[in-house]
């Protein structure tokens, strides 16, 4: 099966080819696209490349174009570089005449240009680079010989806007190279069907789903997962797991190299700080998260690979693919939020398939104990979260259409057919396609005043072409679907009090901070960043100046990123566990006692019920709802319930939400209103809240405005902020909020509002999940009026005041500021 020199090479290394590697070779020989599902350590990448290496080493083939044969696409440029390095060994050792190169945003312009006319045999790159290559007029020549496309970590790519962009790129690649075959590499997933279909051209989208073959490698040993037993009691709320730091440190001490996963950058900073605080043995412990400077991240990665570290505290930046060393323990701080994420992260420990990966879960609070148990059970059962089937985003389609127009004039009929072969766009209607084309050309407004500025103009035979070359430049500067929140560089300076900040003072760059976070920093506030306590000295253009501080109780950054809501799958498991007192025995004593108390004082809801408790507390009337549907859906629900309770005259004052529950507090007596039948819970939770109420709230919602901004950037309505342009941007550029407001009022049916709405439904507002919840609980609401706080409600009540709730509080801030001024002016002291 394995031809020479490959058979010999395997033999020399003492290897024999694995069944899945041979299966992929056979599939390639039959020219069948295939999805390979395998756990980490199964030799997945080599399996993906073997068919290409074999084909390229066996004889000459006629060249129709530039000679590029294999395109490898990975979500991370670092992974592409890593894979390229790993390919060099077999190629060199077998003396194959195969050229491989990588291409990313960092590749030099000269090299990039050369790659378009004289490409290597194998090009390793990212989805954005593929989009860029396809937007050049010479794309047809470049890809004419393309034989194989390898999509790595497909599970991480497919169900996202990046996945949409890539799917559209694949559709075009198939047009340019009709015989091309795809190989998808993926970790274990719950529903491989989606990924198999993603790899194929959907030529009959209305009737049949075309599926790639699938080769599955069964996982090796079952992972060995434990929940950390700490001496101190598990706290009621919070996510820091401070109570367990001594035990976490101990676990690190006993292992070779531990990877400490956390859910947010804030937690990463905190845990890192705490571990060093008690680091009596001076263990080399590193820190790795997305806000850190790239150079600093690389240093940590290199130290890991060289075996110089004993532990690394990391966020999802280390979730994917690359091998950084001989990790023998994964410690997960906080609940993992999803079964698949947990498995993925556990897989980072021990890359040998036959030995179990070892992992320790450290719940941050009592609810997280339930969630950790649920995740453990799911992992043991090998259960995965189902990936949502995805409808391709319209903003991404807009970007793709302009890219295609930059490559060559296009026939709308032909492009529409091509786009529909991409799985996410299989259901796209012609009407939507035409509206997006119109948007690309003239903005797609009901008021048709921009025809004379149209970016797309008729060419021969009904085709459309771009009206000038500047459009292509604009496209290339704005390509991609990743729109970060604006980030500011953090620069360390010496912090002499009163010293004026000057540009000359500039010291080392520590990393980047979210602009939203910086905006809220009071002068000289202290916070933890890059593992140090820093003081905010000031802001200068796009840089945050900080100095080292010695504060022992720093204010901690709350910068965004990495806050996933609990998955639907885990939520269902948590509800089931909660409903079954027998399952409580496996929980730590403090937690099972807590649940017994709840059963005594209130009620324990059934697995499909929703419990609603109402009680007075601190002079206010609380309504606590326990949907277990994740923080995002709860926030949306809280906003909508607040509106409805306001109309019911109950004077809601505020609410707080976490992954498990939400609490709304009111002036009015909610218990009485329900028992006296002035307020119907069935009506309060009626699905129609997703109609008018949602619509009215969205008009004001800052989350919706943020979602709109992302869609506007991806669709090309607003240009990305590029470094250097930022300063003038401030005063000249209007904010997208203004555009959103004007568009809502004057063109409410606009396609970009529709796109933003669709994003919000699955993204920041999680309306889809909220809708499922409301449908699920019809007739299953269990109300319990109480005279005092219930045990189950304590964690959520403790979060009041800790979480900033998004809302319409803006005018109240102005009002407070004005009241302050009046007090000062009228001589009334605030004391």
């Amino acid at each position: 099966m394995l031809p020479e020199p490959f058979a010999q090479w395997f033999a020399r290394r003492g290897w024999s080819p694995r069944a899945h590697q041979l299966a992929l070779l056979q599939a390639a020989a039959d020219r069948r696209s295939t999805l390979l599902i395998a756990p980490t350590g199964a030799g997945k990448t080599l399996a993906g490349f073997l068919p290409s290496l074999v084909a390229l080493s066996s004889g000459k083939r006629e060249k129709k174009g530039a000679g590029l044969r294999t395109l490898y696409i990975s979500p991370l440029k670092a992974l592409a570089a890593d894979v390229a390095r790993n390919l060099e060994t077999p190629i060199a050792e077998m003396g194959l005449k195969i050229r491989t190169e990588t291409r990313s945003g960092d590749t030099s312009v000269a090299r990039k240009t050369r790659q378009r006319t004289h490409p290597p045999h194998i090009l390793l790159t990212t989805p954005e680079q593929v989009a860029l290559l396809l937007s050049h007029p010479d794309a047809g020549y470049l890809f004419a010989d393309l034989d194989t496309i390898i999509l790595d970590e497909l599970h991480a790519l497919a169900a996202s806007k990046r996945g949409d962009l890539l799917a559209l790129g694949l559709a075009r690649l198939r047009t340019l190279a009709p015989a091309v075959m795809t190989i998808g590499l993926s970790a274990t997933v719950a529903r491989p069907t989606e990924l198999r279909a993603y790899l194929m051209a959907q030529t009959e989208p209305d009737t049949t789903l075309a599926l790639a073959d699938v080769v599955t490698v069964k996982g090796g040993a079952k992972p060995d997962i434990k929940i950390l037993a700490a001496e101190a009691d598990i706290p009621w709320s919070g996510h820091t797991a401070r109570y367990a730091m001594a035990e976490v440190y101990d676990a690190i001490r006993k292992s070779r190299l531990a990877l400490v996963f956390v859910n947010t950058r804030m937690q990463a900073e905190y845990v890192f700080q705490e571990l060093w605080r008690g680091n009596d043995d001076n263990l080399p412990i590193g820190l790795h998260h997305g806000s850190l400077d790239a150079a600093q991240r690389k240093k940590v990665e290199a130290a890991m690979a060289a075996g110089k570290l004993r532990a690394v505290v990391a966020t999802s930046t280390l979730d994917l693919g690359i091998d950084w060393g001989d990790i023998d323990l994964v410690i997960h701080i906080g609940a993992p939020k999803g079964a698949s994420r947990l498995l993925q992260r556990i897989g980072r420990a021990n890359h040998r398939m036959d030995e179990p990966s070892r992992a320790v879960l450290v719940p941050g609070n009592r609810f997280e104990v339930l969630e950790c148990r649920a995740a453990m059970q799911a992992a043991e059962a090998g259960a995965q979260d189902a990936m949502l089937s995805r409808t391709g985003a319209l903003d991404v389609l807009a970007q793709h259409i302009i890219g295609m127009a930059c490559a060559a004039p296009f026939q709308p009929d032909a492009l529409f057919s091509e786009v529909r072969t991409a799985l996410p766009y299989a259901d796209l209607t012609r009407q939507h396609f035409d509206r997006v084309v119109d948007f690309v050309s003239t903005g797609g407004y009901a008021l048709r005043s921009y025809e004379r500025f149209a970016k797309l103009r008729p060419a021969d035979g009904g085709a459309l072409r771009i009206s000038n070359a500047r459009i292509a430049q604009q496209y290339r500067l704005n390509v991609g679907t990743i729109v970060d929140t604006p980030m500011l560089k953090v620069r360390l300076i010496s912090g002499k009090r009163g010293a004026k900040i000057s540009a000359l003072q500039g010291g080392r760059v520590l990393g980047e901070l979210d602009e939203y976070f910086v905006e809220q920093l009071p002068p000289r506030a202290t916070f933890v960043f890059a593992g140090e306590v820093l003081r905010f000295e000031g802001l200068r253009e796009t840089e945050v100046y900080v100095s080292r501080a010695t504060a022992s109780d720093p204010m901690i950054p709350s910068y965004g990123g990495g806050r996933f809501p609990m998955s639907t799958h885990l939520a269902a498991r948590v509800r089931t566990m909660l409903a079954d007192p027998k399952a409580w025995r496996a929980l730590p004593a403090a937690v099972s006692h807590w649940l017994e108390l709840q059963a005594e004082r209130s009620i324990i809801p059934g697995p499909n019920d929703v419990l609603i408790e109402t009680f007075p507390h601190h002079g206010r009337h609380h309504m606590v709802v326990y949907p277990f549907e994740g923080r995002l859906a709860h926030q949306t629900l809280g906003m909508l319930l607040t509106r409805r309770l306001d109309r019911a005259g109950l004077e809601p004052l505020g609410f707080v939400a976490n992954d498990y529950a939400l609490s709304i507090w009111c002036r009015g007596d909610v218990s009485a209103a329900i028992t006296e039948e002035r307020l119907s819970l069935a009506q309060l939770f009626e699905q129609d809240m997703l109609g008018d109420d949602l619509d009215a709230w969205l008009a004001e919602s800052s989350l919706m405005k943020r979602t709109f901004r992302l869609a506007a950037v991806i669709a090309g309505l607003i240009e990305r902020r590029h470094p250097g342009k930022v300063k003038s941007g401030r005063q000249v550029t209007m904010s997208t909020d203004l555009i959103y407001d004007v568009l809502r009022r004057h063109d409410p049916g606009h396609i970009l509002l529709e796109a933003a709405w669709a994003d919000a439904a699955t993204g920041l507002l999680d309306i889809a999940r909220l809708g499922e919840f409301l449908a699920r609980i019809r007739g299953r609401i269990r109300h319990q009026p109480l005279t005092r706080v219930s045990p189950l409600s304590v964690p959520i009540l403790l979060e009041i005041g800790r979480e900033q709730v998004y809302g319409q509080a803006q005018d109240s801030i102005l009002r407070d500021a004005a009241a302050l001024l009046i007090r000062e002016a009228t001589g009334e002291s605030a004391a």
């Binding site: 900033q804 801030i813 009046i822």
Partner: protein, 240 residues
Amino acid sequence: MSSLRPERFDLNDARDQPLSLCGKAFRAHMSGALYWPAEHALIVSDLHLEKGSHYAARGQMLPPYDTRETLRKLAEVIDMYDAETVIALGDSLHDATAAARIDAADLETLAILQDNRDWIWITGNHDPDVAPILGGHVLPGLTVEGLTLRHEPRAGAVTHEIAGHMHPAARLVVHGTALRRPCFISNGLRLVMPAFGAFTGGLNILDAAFEPLFGLDGVSVWMLGQEGLYPVATRLLRDD
């Protein structure tokens, strides 16, 4: 001391607030307009009409509704005060050819607003000429009751002046939440108005550009909210 006391603020109905300049009484409105009751005159600045289409001509298809939205806001505030005179303090048009791009429906709205009303366009740097198609009188500046109305504020310690041009905005941090909004800024002797146009941005009043106009202290700031206009203590204001 009682003369230094602010006039009565009503924060519950804060849509407009009293503002006095060189002893004359005005009402500053949350939309960014200024009403002069004694003259029955409404003053607005920096409408920047057709900014959307200006961008569209350069390939960025911003919504073509900014003129419509600006005129809608203007109509609302004209109605509210039943103003007899409207004075636009310059940069009413975003660029030299903007007038030709205004949609017919929007021109009609403008004509209706001008009906039975004195309408004065003061010229600005963006609109040194105002096309006759827009109606009204065109003036480089205007002095009323000893107060000079012009587009660009004169440098130095000038008094008795109402101007625009600067697009003043203020950034406030209270309870850890930041808010950036257009604002009125005055030292009691001169006033710079916020930009009224739907698509206009703002320049932070702590920027060095404001220093020659107002010096470093003794200014009052009113920020534009969604439900009202709010006088704000300047020590709460922050750089961008």
